[in-house]
């Protein structure tokens, strides 16, 4: 058991406990704070996997933007859920059973795949070279420029769509349909 494994086990355990609290916590603000801890644990895992740039993006996009967005949305809507403190729906035992079955199936597949107990292959390039390669591959016509462009169009559409959807309804027509 070397230090890296200890770090992995501690981070992984913390991530899973925090993720469980996200789906079980009765208070949504607490769930959102546990979500931040989960996302930070995943960022540490990216560092362990020597993908430092993705760890930075994880902090900047997930913790900084998405988690804050979720917390603001919870604060804007929390009054609605206060009279009904029960957060799980009637079918939650079936949901738990389905999730457990999926996990057992994945674990069953996992032990059958060859080579999963192997260590990492040695990195041939330095971290800077890997980052440069990542940047070039995203705009290279022969590689991933199409997914990159699709992602940018999707982001633009989401930006405009979020603004259009969240515009307050026009006064006098409330309840009458679209604003």
């Amino acid at each position: 058991m070397n230090p890296l494994q200890l770090v992995f086990l501690a981070t992984g355990g913390l991530t899973l406990v925090a993720a469980l609290m996200v789906v079980l916590s009765p208070n949504l603000i607490h769930a959102a704070l546990w979500l931040i801890l989960t996302l930070a644990g995943v960022a540490v895992l990216f560092v362990l996997l020597e993908a430092g740039f993705l760890a930075v993006v994880q902090v900047a996009v997930y913790i900084d933007a998405i988690a804050i967005l979720i917390i603001v949305a919870v604060m804007l809507t929390q009054r609605a859920m206060r009279p009904q403190p029960q957060q799980a729906n009637r079918a939650w035992p079936w949901a738990a059973l389905g999730a457990l079955l999926l996990f057992l199936g994945l674990a069953f597949l996992l032990v059958q795949v060859p080579g999963v107990s192997a260590g990492p292959a040695p990195l041939t390039a330095s971290a800077e070279a890997t980052l440069e390669e990542l940047g070039k591959s995203l705009v290279d016509v022969n590689r991933y420029v199409i997914p990159f462009e699709v992602a940018s169009v999707l982001l633009l559409a989401a930006l405009i769509g979020a603004i259009v959807v969240a515009i307050p309804p026009i006064r006098g027509r409330e309840g009458g349909g679209e604003g």
């Binding site: 494994q5 995943v42 979720i70 990492p120 292959a121």
Partner: protein
């Protein structure tokens, strides 16, 4: 040395926890949080396979970046929809949003 199977087991567990959150929660925002957990599990898998199987190709990291973009758009549109629904119907419980249920 950390075996690849540890990462895969962790990511499978995280995905299943997120799936439970999506299926069992009543609040639409909590359902979105479950989706974020599942997307994170996918990202761990992508980066782990990149590091352990094909470190000389950059595909795993490139697609992890694209998953980030999709997650950001999904959170923005999803939360805008939820806030819009809350303004009109004063609820965020998924089973009360049944206007289009036939």
């Amino acid at each position: 040395m950390i075996p690849l199977s540890w990462y895969l087991a962790l990511s499978a567990a995280l995905f299943c926890i997120g799936l439970y959150g999506v299926l069992a929660r009543r609040n639409a925002i909590a359902i979105l949080m479950g989706i974020e957990l599942m997307l994170n599990a996918v990202n761990i898998n992508l980066v782990a396979f990149w590091r352990y199987v094909t470190p000389e190709l950059i595909a795993g990291q490139a697609f992890a970046v694209i998953v980030f973009a999709v997650a950001a758009s999904e959170a923005a549109v999803g939360l805008a929809l939820i806030i819009s629904i809350y303004r009109r119907r004063h609820t965020v419980a998924a089973e009360d949003i049944n206007l289009m249920k036939w």
